[in-house]
């Protein structure tokens, strides 16, 4: 049996914030253009979120983090670490984290850097933030999972590659609105999905995506975590799994013994698509928006390449007052405007200008 | 200070002058003005220009044009105040003569905007705005004027279509000006169909950028008998400024620079606004015509469009404006426009304008040159010299 991860001192979420851009591209619009609509009964999601022309991972992270800061009610200068997990950092070289730190008033006394681990870069940043606070290196750390994912035009990925994410401020357990009970991370070298340097679009490795990658890693991380915590699915009020579509999280939840009711609050992919590093963490904000003190929540991410982080939180009575002071996940889900494929293609720079 | 007069004028046609560099345009206008004045030498040269550095990669226009006109050695300097550079250069020439430091001074306005493609000139013209807080976040010059026009429409409950009268007047007059860029009339339907530049400003609201040069020769009033050129007295030429950023003004429709410059000019000339018989307006955009007339005191705030649509500013109206086509019809060679206005007003006062656009018996004429969204304003009043 593997040992689960627990910080030396209790650590939890003291502030959280969501962000989803306002624009939506219906999967039907993609289907109509590339398949004459013949796959309309098999679409992986209903619609996906698309960033506006002036948005990117940095601007979206700013708003999510501002929401988290409002809930945390701390002076930004007290935050000692800024970590942004994404596979769509605007710069190849130059951290997203420093821009965020400057805008939020966290700079200059802080560590900052970017994480990349496909769709689990956000939970990776949360693990690092937990370690930073848990070890006593600092009292507060900001971790963001955010993406503006790209899918090759006409590729199956294009239906779901979406934009959005969430920010978390991790802090001492006694200030937390949700305390981390423990976590488990499970990684192997699995080339299920990757994007080489300088390439615009990612590639899938054969049919590794399902069984070898998504299911194997999440099954492992969750199973080890539950064993280590001596918990079973029925001990959880809610669970959120990485959601590249609607089917996968439903399937892994059922296999592990979680009910549809337990995963409903965290399952957003039908309405916004796959927000990559933002997916699991955004499901968690929606769960927290509805949580009650005492609720136990499981979050399991998956990142290609491949790995899964499973984390278990117990909600405290600080949730009630924190929840109201910033926009909720539903406020962003409900703020929506449909765009057509041409607008999407222009905004996402799929039209070659030179 | 001595009183001064203009004894010679010169201009090139306003065109896309592919065949001439900026120095030749300047030299042509200068030599034409000197010929008109019948002087063969000048004591100093003041060159109004905004964008020679940005668009012709040529600064140092004072020395360059003096050199190519054959006057190397004289005092010569470039004067810059965005779109008001032309009249600003004239004011410098006036002061040089009025102060007694010079006997004959030349002011020219020259601009060459067509050296590069239009997209560069849009960015270059935006340098008249605040670079840090307007231009560098995406405001074009048309956009800044559009913000004023939208606000005007909101405050005075007027329609966009009401503005059509100003470009219609400009084009109607330009037909008779051989130096104008446009020689066709436009109607309300053309205006309604014009494409948007920065909503609500459309192409018909916007003066065309072009190349050109205009020049005047200035001498002391008490010496005009010495010269053969037809003299017109400069009764006033007053410059005032306002904030460069439109956002720094409490009321975007209140152009303090226009108010100060116009009221001071009228006071120095010793006349009332109603004595002005024609006005060469700075109609870079239709909204600027409206704000220029209202803030100069020619009509109450909110009334300029009504007055214009009633015919007050047409060529046969109470106070014709843009008699040679204005910036819209004659064209807007930015740093030269202020001197084109003066050259045109001089022709009106002399009675030398082409017959269809000659205003009858002109004793007093005004020209107002505006830089930026009103940050530099120069109001000039010309007076006929009665023998």
């Amino acid at each position: 049996m593997h040992k689960i991860m627990k910080p030396e001192r209790p650590v939890g979420i003291i502030g959280y914030g969501a962000y989803i851009p306002a624009y939506r591209l219906p999967a039907e619009a993609i289907s109509k253009l590339w398949r004459e609509g013949q796959d309309r009964n098999h679409l992986p999601i209903r619609e996906k979120s698309v960033p506006g022309p002036e948005e990117d991972t940095i601007t979206m992270s700013v708003e999510a983090a501002q929401n988290a800061l409002r809930r945390a009610r701390i002076d930004p200068q007290e935050i000692g670490a800024v970590w942004v997990g994404s596979e769509s950092h605007p710069y190849a070289v130059k951290p997203s984290g420093t821009v965020l730190a400057q805008i939020l008033g966290i700079a200059p006394a802080a560590v900052s850097g970017d994480f990349e681990f496909a769709c689990k870069a956000g939970t990776e940043a949360m693990q690092a933030a937990t370690a930073f606070v848990g070890s006593g290196m600092g009292d507060y750390a900001l971790a963001v999972g955010m993406d503006t994912a790209q899918g090759r035009p006409g590729d199956a990925l294009e239906y779901t590659a979406a934009a959005g994410g969430a920010a978390y401020i991790m802090g001492p357990g006694d200030e937390a609105l949700a305390v981390l009970e423990g976590s488990f991370s499970f990684v192997t070298d699995t080339p299920d999905f990757f994007r080489r340097a300088y390439q615009k679009y990612p590639e899938h490795g054969n049919r590794f995506t399902g069984d070898l990658a998504y299911f194997y890693h999440i099954r492992s991380s969750v199973t080890y975590l539950l064993e280590g915590l001596q918990l079973s699915p029925k001990d959880f009020t809610a669970a959120v799994f990485h959601q590249p579509n609607v089917k996968f999280p439903q399937k892994i939840a059922a296999e592990l013994g979680f009910s549809k009711a337990q995963i409903s609050a965290g399952l957003l992919s039908n309405r916004i698509g796959n927000t990559y590093a933002g997916a699991a963490v955004l499901g968690l904000t929606n769960i927290l928006d509805q949580a009650k003190p005492g609720d136990r929540i499981l979050m399991a991410s998956f990142g290609s390449g491949a790995g899964s982080d499973a984390l278990s939180f117990v909600v405290t009575d600080k949730i009630e007052s924190a929840r109201k002071v910033a926009p909720g996940t539903a406020d962003y889900l409900n703020r929506r405007k449909n765009i057509d494929y041409a607008t999407y293609a222009r905004w996402r720079k799929k039209i070659v200008m030179k | 200070m001595r009183k001064v007069a203009i004894i010679g004028i010169g201009q090139t046609p306003v065109r896309e002058h592919w065949d001439y560099p900026i120095r030749y345009l300047g030299v042509q206008a200068l030599l034409a003005a000197m010929q008109d004045a019948r002087v063969d030498t000048i004591g100093g040269l003041f060159v109004g220009n905004m964008l020679s550095g940005a668009l012709s990669e040529q600064e140092h226009l004072g020395a360059l044009i003096a050199d190519y006109a054959g006057f190397s050695g004289i005092e010569a300097v470039k004067v810059e105040a965005a779109c008001a550079s032309g009249a600003a250069a004239m004011r410098m020439a006036l002061m040089a003569v009025a102060s007694g430091r010079m006997e004959v001074a030349a002011a020219i306005g020259v601009e060459k905007l067509t050296e590069y493609s239009g997209k560069f000139s849009t960015a270059a013209l935006a340098t008249a705005a605040d670079a840090d807080y307007e231009a560098s976040i995406g405001l074009s010059f048309a956009a800044i004027n559009a913000l004023m026009m939208r606000r005007y429409m909101h405050e005075y409950k007027v329609n966009k279509e009401d503005f059509a009268i100003f470009p219609i007047i400009a084009h109607a007059n330009a037909v008779h000006n051989p130096n104008a860029m446009f020689h066709h009339t436009i109607n309300r339907e053309d205006y309604a169909r014009a494409k948007m530049i920065a909503d609500p400003i459309n192409l018909m609201d916007s003066s065309p950028i072009a190349d050109g040069a205009a020049a005047v020769i200035i001498v002391p009033m008490d010496k005009i008998k010495k010269y053969a050129g037809k003299a017109v007295r400069v009764a006033a030429c007053e410059l005032a400024t306002d904030t460069v950023g439109l956002d720094s003004r409490e009321d975007a429709l209140l152009l303090k620079g226009v108010q100060k410059s116009a009221s001071k000019a009228l006071k120095i000339a010793g006349i009332e606004a109603k004595q002005i018989q024609l006005m060469e307006l700075h109609d870079a955009f239709s909204i600027m015509s409206v704000l220029s007339l209202e803030n100069s005191g020619f009509c109450q705030p909110g009334r300029a469009l009504f007055a214009a649509n009633d015919g007050k500013y047409s060529i046969d109206g109470e106070m014709p404006v843009c008699t040679f086509g204005g910036l819209k019809g004659r064209g807007h060679p930015v740093g030269a426009s202020g001197l084109y206005q003066i050259v045109e007003a001089v022709q009106q006062v002399r009675g030398d304008a082409p017959a269809p656009i000659q205003v009858e018996d002109v004793e007093w004429a005004m020209a107002q040159n505006i830089g930026g969204s009103g940050a530099t304003v120069i109001t000039t009043i010309l007076n006929r010299i009665n023998e």
Partner: protein
Amino acid sequence: MDIPRYWRLREQRYKLQGNVCAECKAYNFPPRPVCLQCKSKNMQPYQFKGNGTIYSYSTVYQAPDAFNKQVPYLVALIDLDEGPRITARLTDILDNKIEIGMPVEMVIRKIYEDGDNGPIQYGYMFRPLLKKKE
């Protein structure tokens, strides 16, 4: 690549960092060395809250070169709650409805990208207030 300008103005563009006159309490954005109202030189830093109303607006169809790829886009004059008027872009106008007097709030957006190799410049834009479920 106006990197020094971007770097120098980052506190203003990121946080609406302006100043307030210690004598007459007039707020300034951009920060001014001399108070526009009372000419005092005793100015204190002040970070604006980022809320305001639209004073005027325009949709730009023909833009300066650096912004050509972004047309059409919206610009506006916005009266900040503290007093000063600011020139800014508008974003996320979802129902295409804009009115003078409409309340707006500051957000961070990409102002422009200097080609494929240059810096990405971030700064303030304003959007209609986010609707919150009570």
